[in-house]
Symmetry: C2
Subunit: 438 residues, 2 copies
């Protein structure tokens, strides 16, 4: 089949709302990945996709073409069900570090490939790298070996995985085409499918700290991701979870590892938020076990997870994988300086602008606004109140941590603006909003 495609005709067809053929999508994406198609044609096409969307067939073709633009990891010699989780990103979301060893402790395999934080949301890779010595740049054979032996391994994206996505993502970022459902779908699913997994649990966040601001848009994204993953032959399900306040107490890389260790060591939950990190991790892990066929329903899965936490088995695996990847858990760094933000008024915490809290942590050095920024692993925020809590003037709202004191004032100002204290008590928002299965 030596059919010739004219890029501008493909852009025009998409612009007109016509369905592209699988071959047209393959031609367009592969030409871009190879460098034959210039950035400006891809940019125009992506903007047309933003406005016109894509059919299920087009989305699947896009995802599979992006997937095949690079290497697909072969984990067929790992003896069991391979399952991963993907979160659309939030503030204080450290569940990956918990459920990796937790699921491995219960008998499924978690080959976890993660990214870095950008903007107000954190990244699993940055959190892991706050453990001194932790190496996330592994070769594929090492990744395969550790996954097979310990049941879990954490790796960063390697250059050979989805090169088309890398190019497209960088272009989306500067052409205002990030917020396109089919492009988001292609980007997420191509990378996850490249891991060589059999199943995937999605944690689609919704709320003031999430990419999706409404339940409707979160459901739509979840539906599209499930449909595409299922069409590609994988078991996929999703939870829509609330991101109207940070998840748990700790925000920032080394700080979040501390909270992870508290959960894995099965320490008694000191606050409600801490309990929510534990609860969401167990739920997501239980769903991963259900997809893996380790248990028949969520309740049975949650019971297995509780046992793995109380027995210390999950912690044991975490210690092993950290050790195996070069990390020294006993050397987690702590920031030099601390700054306390106390309430000026009494009342109830009625609303958080969670994105604002995430950006305050970035100002302290915990995150980055562009990929070239460096981060301070010790910087971050501990949040002491959840929405619905009562507050008296003088109560501690946030503890700030950083390597120098210069940014405390700016971060405090941002946190105060991100926190609404009212006279009327607001209901504590539910963490789990919806469960969607493929």
């Amino acid at each position: 089949l030596s059919e010739v495609y004219l890029p501008s005709e493909i852009i025009k067809r998409k612009r007109e709302g016509l369905e592209l053929t699988v071959e047209e999508i393959q031609f367009f994406i592969n030409s871009y990945a190879s460098g034959a198609l210039p950035d400006y044609q891809m940019a125009a096409w992506m903007m047309a996709v933003f406005f016109r969307g894509m059919s299920s067939r087009e989305r699947l073709a896009l995802t599979e073409t992006m997937l095949r633009s690079g290497a697909v990891i072969d984990l067929s010699d790992v003896p069991g069900f391979k399952v991963d989780k993907h979160s659309t990103g939030g503030v204080g979301d450290k569940t990956s570090l918990i459920l990796g060893p937790l699921v491995a402790a219960c008998g499924a395999f978690v080959p976890m490939m993660s990214g870095r934080g950008l903007g107000h949301t954190g990244g699993t890779l940055d959190k892991l790298e706050s453990i001194p010595g932790f190496k996330t740049q592994l070769s594929i054979p090492e990744f395969r070996k550790i996954t097979a032996e310990l049941g879990v391994c954490f790796i960063g994206q390697t250059p050979e995985i989805c090169p088309a996505d890398k190019k497209m993502y960088a272009l989306r970022d500067v052409t205002a085409t990030v917020e396109s459902l089919p492009l988001i779908c292609g980007s997420i699913m191509s990378k996850k499918l490249a891991e060589g997994i059999d199943g995937l649990v999605l944690d689609v966040k919704v709320g003031s700290g999430a990419f999706m601001k409404t339940l409707h848009s979160a459901e739509e994204l979840a539906r599209v991701l499930i449909e595409t993953g299922t069409s590609a032959g994988k078991k996929v399900s999703a939870f829509i979870t609330q991101m109207d306040q940070p998840l748990g107490t700790h925000i920032g890389n080394a700080l979040e590892v501390e909270e992870v260790l508290a959960v894995l060591r099965n320490e008694p939950a000191g606050t409600k938020e801490f309990a929510e990190t534990r609860k969401l991790s167990i739920l997501l892990a239980a769903e991963m076990l259900r997809l893996a066929g380790v248990c028949h329903d969520l309740t049975a899965g949650e019971a297995l997870c509780e046992k793995a936490l109380t027995s210390g088995r999950a912690m044991e695996i975490f210690e092993k994988v950290v050790d195996r990847q070069g990390g020294r858990l006993n050397q987690i760094p702590k920031a030099k300086f601390e700054h306390r933000v106390v309430a000026k008024d009494s009342g109830f915490v009625s609303r958080y602008n969670t994105e604002g809290i995430g950006l305050a942590s970035v100002v302290l050095g915990a995150g980055r606004l562009k990929f070239s920024d460096t981060i301070d692993p010790t910087a971050g925020i501990i949040s002491h109140k959840v929405v619905g809590d009562d507050v008296r003037a003088g109560d501690l709202l946030f503890t700030l941590r950083a390597s120098d004191t210069s940014k405390f004032a700016a971060a405090e100002e941002m946190l105060r603006r991100a926190t609404t204290i009212s006279l009327q008590k607001a209901p504590t928002p539910s963490l789990i909003l919806k469960h969607m299965v493929g």
Copy 2:
């Protein structure tokens, strides 16, 4: 005002359907013209403009920014009203060559800057250059001098005029963003305003050989162009004219000059189509005279034009301007070969695919599909029938002309496919569909 604009934010605001400020548009277009803004951001923005459109205020800002990206010709020392015509492009449309000297003969000034043909439509510059020696690359002072002395001068677009438009047009062509009303408006009006004119008559073509296929879309374009030109302080009006068949009998560069000379010499019109070329030229010229204040209404303007044709004054000016620009009217070349296409069936000409006829002339060498193609000035087609004419098998439909015989068969096949002969008589389409004033 040292406000900083983020290009991706401007793209996003347009994508969301928000109105951009004059300053944002200036920043975006000027950054692109200077090379600071990359093609891919302009491409994404233009596709967003395609979907979201532009307000009158945005369109005017776009046009004026594109205009000011280069030089604006100062014709203030030309003693009178400067008026031009712009056609959206058709097949066999040679009116510019007629109405230039015709309007000049009646006392207004026509500083005419034209482009080349592309695709199925011809360009005034190519037609003029089929006159041996005719020079269209004049300096601005020469252009100003000839316009002042003779009342008319024909020039090609110079590099200093609207550089932003040149860059944007090339990008639109390869990113499927040609068909955007505000971008078309900016491109047309910035170039016309750069000529230093006081008034402009638009000939917006509609039909099978035109860019606009429906009366509604043609009216919309005319309305937007009139509004933008009027806001920029110019007198602007428009005619919507029919392009469901070629204008006149001759299609192709030297062939069209022959028809122009027949009209200017006031030769008796041999066919109906020839008469339509004369009619449209007089109408457009009369409207230009009306805008110039030379006459009070179209009827008076048409009477002045008739007089300028019958007296030979228009022809005299044409001879002078051709001579002044180096052209030798007595040496117009003729093609070596001729090929006759006769009807196979009897009936009535009920429909032309005029774009198909234009493309047949391109195949013969009269036009180009890309700007780098070379053209044969002698190649082209003479059309012998108009829609509504009766035809008997064996009647001459088209005479083809070319420098070699190799393309006659292909062109004949295209012309046969572009011509519908039916048993039922179709009405002859009206030439003038609407007159719109600012």
